[in-house]
Symmetry: none
Subunit: 159 residues, 2 copies
Amino acid sequence: MGNLADRIEAYLKTILGEAEGGSIILQRGFLAKIFSCAPSQINYVLTTRFTVEKGYLVESRRGGGGFLRIVRLGFDEESNFHRLMNELLGEEVSQLRANNLLENLCEEDILTEREAILLKSVFADKIIGEFLSNTYAPRLRAKMMKEVLIGISRADLES
Amino acid sequence: MGNLADRIEAYLKTILGEAEGGSIILQRGFLAKIFSCAPSQINYVLTTRFTVEKGYLVESRRGGGGFLRIVRLGFDEESNFHRLMNELLGEEVSQLRANNLLENLCEEDILTEREAILLKSVFADKIIGEFLSNTYAPRLRAKMMKEVLIGISRADLES
DNA sequence: TGGTTAAAGGTCAAAAAAGGTCAGTGGTGA
DNA sequence: TCACCACTGACCTTTTTTGACCTTTAACCA
């Protein structure tokens, strides 16, 4: 991965992995200095790579002593599962959001790598878009995604 | 075969043969420079020589740090797998046929039980039928099924 | 205490850095 | 001659990177 955004992402995920409690606190300016880039590049990484559907929460504070806080969200609790179904999924899901979600589920060991690959290929715009417009494709995807989640919770009970 | 497309094809297959994991990553512009040709010539080679039918998968990313990724799929052109994929091409698959197909794959240990359950749930008439008529639903299902087969042969490589 | 200031972080648009598409041209073999 | 394959160039879309300008807040000082 040659680009800056990917390297910053990787760096953050590394220290997040090592951190206690699944969260880290750091300063935007400091991070920008480490990678010698524009501070707004950090925002770019945060908004594209640490989104809710990827399972992250980003908080911040401005002013003196300001900071960024990145939190990794898990799905362990039942409330989170419902959050996934309602808030995260909604009635429409783009290909990008579907992929992000599937990767997240993968990381949380709710899906296997293979399952994620298979579902991603089924949800691809290239496939669905051949039959449904931009209005309806994301709706079908949302329906399918919900069905998958229901399937998972059932399959889990059986094992 | 002295022509450019053939030489580019041969070059890519050589480095693909030497590569670990059966896949290579490179940049279109870089490759075009090596062969001093138009960048779109690379696309021509990829779409004519590295098709799924020939056992290859091409992924890409645009923008800064963009790249092409060529993956050699894990099946040969004479395999059952390949035959099934071609059968699916342009065919229509009912919910019933999809279920049968998935169960077969399951019995042949190509899919796990769980994978089959998940895929069955997304292929259900109840879901697809909400968006597509009896004419189009089976066509979408066929495309998706083919994509699943591609997904399988890719997933097998990555593990 | 209250106002000022410096130290954060946020936003947005423009530029840059890739790759994608498509129509059209030209050669070549049946 | 006609159909097909190789190739190019003009134009498009997506993603990343930067910089100018804005907002918020803690700290300091009168």
